[in-house]
Symmetry: C2
């Protein structure tokens, strides 16, 4: 009888340990995942935008393409969608060749989860010191190699174009 | 001793029940949440698009505004962003008054989680039987009252507009 009781108590303890494991937030592979924090994400997206603006100023289309995920798609205004980094690099190459010297990005709205972030931003495009277009953007970010990267990027004009 | 053993067994059983509850996906309030299934979500979004097309054909701007969340924002091309259902209803009212009789929506891409869905779609706009614009859209959906509703909706043209 004493033996049985000890065994039962052991079983009880084990089942409590089991509960504790289940309650922790884990990925499907069982690796612990840090809790998502939107304020931290906001700072990370501000940093991505800063890099984007610096790369435009430098005319670095390859650097710009690397801010996008390998499976990214840009949905810019006045052209069909373009998928993948090689295509995106060409898009930015042409954009820079067209005379753009500066892009100003300002986050209007940011929401999402650890899976996807969505940003609405205000976009000003400059040729030399002249502002040539006032646009808005809707950008979906996804993590790749532990870093938020642009996964979908759409823009349009704030005023009629015809 | 017999009494203690019975009590211990009862405790063991209780802790197993506890584990079972913890293992189920629940919201923070403890209410059970059904597992997210993208295929089901795809069917639901196809249904929303069907309703959207029917409401355009009927010229029902109030019905269209009700497909959006109460905190929705439309980011249509050639105009600043418009927030909230009243504003969105006006946008669709003007759109219908401008002569649009039909909008054709086709899902190109859909991804997301139970928190947000993101759809890329191909949009054809008709005045009477004449196709007048070929656009693409990036739409973010959020659940409101248990139904997927449009939360952000952005469009632009596939060809240069000037």
């Amino acid at each position: 009888m004493r033996k049985l009781t000890f065994f039962t108590l052991l079983l009880t303890a084990t089942s409590f340990i089991g509960c504790d494991n289940v309650a922790k937030p884990t990925t499907q592979s069982g690796i612990e995942k840090p809790a998502f924090d939107l304020e931290t994400a906001k700072k990370e997206i501000t940093e991505v935008n800063k890099q984007f603006m610096e790369l435009i100023a430098k005319g670095d289309s390859a650097g710009l393409a690397n801010l996008y995920t390998s499976d990214a798609k840009v949905l810019f205004t006045g052209a069909p969608a373009v998928s993948g980094r090689a295509g995106i690099q060409t898009v930015f190459g042409n954009f820079i060749k067209s005379g753009v010297t500066k892009v100003d990005l300002k986050t209007v709205d940011l929401f999402g989860t650890e899976d996807f972030l969505v940003e609405e931003s205000a976009v000003l495009i400059y040729v030399k010191e002249q502002m040539v277009a006032e646009e808005k953007a809707l950008v979906v970010y996804k993590k790749e190699d532990g870093k938020w990267k642009l996964f979908r990027d759409m823009t349009n004009a704030n005023t009629p174009q015809h």
